[in-house]
Symmetry: C2
Subunit: 295 residues, 2 copies
């Protein structure tokens, strides 16, 4: 097999190392990976689509919480509503660093906000969001800002009989609304943070509990719970992806260094960038390794 599918990738050591690794896992030898073990996992925000100026789902949360505070004004001064609506950087930094207080506060409001909704009701809200809210920097829809090289990599992995999973700290049910059309990935292969649903009298409704946001070690825990395995091939871009990448054999780190075609930043990726260099992860320069960025 070869990398003809990676048309948006420039030829060079990064593209070649992906192909060499995949070849080695299907050929007899020390690096052979049994078909059942061929699991690949991808982060979403910043790995499959732009996460600046803010992760896509945060726009959805802001909208919902803004409406909520309009209806219940006393919440405006309460945490974490206040922090979320003021886009308080410290609050979100604490979430990224998985500080328990910030995580618990966020889990709590996320669970409450949509409690009692059916899957169809939640899906309608998400669809309306995607139909009406547009990205800031680009004239397009969020779902058009998915990285073409990543979709090509999904295809290549499937040729090698890898099963591809998305594992995001973001909302599982939010991603599942778009995963089949946008990524060609079935809902069941989407892993993320999620409210627990309750089934009563023939109806499934969101409960009031959300447990275990899939960040940092939580990504590995969610992947094992879902698949019974650790990934062989893992792709991520943020500090919250460190553990997922370290748990895999092949680690692909996406470096956002292209401020002309997308965004250039290291904020939220300082630690993983250092580890990637130190531990010889394969580092994708979006600027140099990708001919095209968006699908």
């Amino acid at each position: 097999m070869n990398g003809d599918k990676l048309k948006s990738w420039n030829d060079g050591p990064v593209k070649q190392s992906i192909i060499n690794f995949l070849d080695s896992t299907v050929e007899e030898g020390l690096d052979y990976v049994k078909p059942e073990d061929r699991i690949a996992t991808f982060d979403n925000d910043g790995t499959l689509w732009a996460e600046k100026p803010a992760p896509v789902q945060l726009n959805f949360l802001f909208l919902a919480f803004t409406k909520r505070v309009q209806n219940e004004p006393f919440l405006a001064d309460k945490q974490p509503y206040k922090a979320i609506l003021e886009r308080d950087k410290i609050f979100f930094q604490n979430v990224i660093e998985q500080k328990p207080e910030a995580i618990i506060a966020l889990e709590d409001v996320l669970a409450r906000e949509w409690a009692g909704k059916t899957p169809d009701e939640f899906e309608s809200e998400v669809k309306e969001f995607f139909a009406t809210v547009k990205p800031e920097k680009f004239e397009s829809n969020f779902t058009e800002l998915i990285y073409k090289p990543m979709l090509e990599l999904f295809d290549l992995l499937k040729d090698y009989k890898y099963r591809v999973f998305i594992c995001s700290g973001g909302g599982r049910d939010f991603m599942r609304v778009i995963c089949e059309e946008a990524w060609g990935i079935f809902k069941e292969n989407v892993i993320g943070s999620a409210a627990e649903y309750e089934y009563n009298n023939g109806t499934l409704k969101r409960g009031t509990v959300l447990r275990g946001i899939a960040l940092g070690p939580g990504k590995v825990e969610h992947i094992f719970a879902r698949t019974g395995r650790l990934p062989v091939f893992a792709v991520g871009n943020g500090d919250v992806d460190i553990e997922m990448l370290e748990s895999a054999k092949f680690r692909l780190f996406i470096n956002h260094d292209d401020d002309k075609r997308e965004y250039a930043y290291e904020n939220g990726s300082e630690k993983i960038l250092a580890i990637a260099k130190e531990k010889n992860f394969t580092i994708v320069s979006m600027k140099n390794d990708w001919k095209e960025i968006f699908k």
Copy 2:
């Protein structure tokens, strides 16, 4: 397509109704089911293999708890160890009926028993169990007592591009040890009750918490959490499968009525049998509909 794959099934209305239903879901018309929605879910104990005289995994639990009580004799008089080791029918009836006290007690000891073990350590224990403990009534291994007609049904469903999931109240990680070899089903398609794992310093270990046993409405909740959908095609045999079957379009109920080749009983299936008749589920008579029972 046709039912040539169902070689162990006698021709008759049950076999025909399975084939008719599957045909109708892939042909244009009112019953057409989009490929992405084609989810089939199967219970395990009593649906894929014998659950009498006791579910297979209970033998595994008895062994582990017996050893535990030998090492810590003071536990012998403590609940739920006492009830489990004395095979106290009331305790297990309460579990089947999902009485909160029994469920919480069971979750607690199940989580504690293997807390701190890695996935590999747990897998070794399960493998040793299957290699050394044999069924009471049959001269074979537990994994040879899997129902051949069900394996044929997996194959048929795959021809129709259904994705097959197993959803058991039993242990997810217990079933995942045998699922690929015994059923030809990837670990990620096995849904069940499970301890939460914790990832620390590059090592995954079982935690002390087990939440949400997949019984009754819990089966539907687990299926939705895992797949983002409700099943189109569902198969079960016990009262704990009622909700799963009711949530599906096609409901196949396995009636254990063959005491010569297996076991005949209604205990634990009284309610679902009544509902199956009342709501026109498709009822499999193991005695009449299956030419062969075991693979």
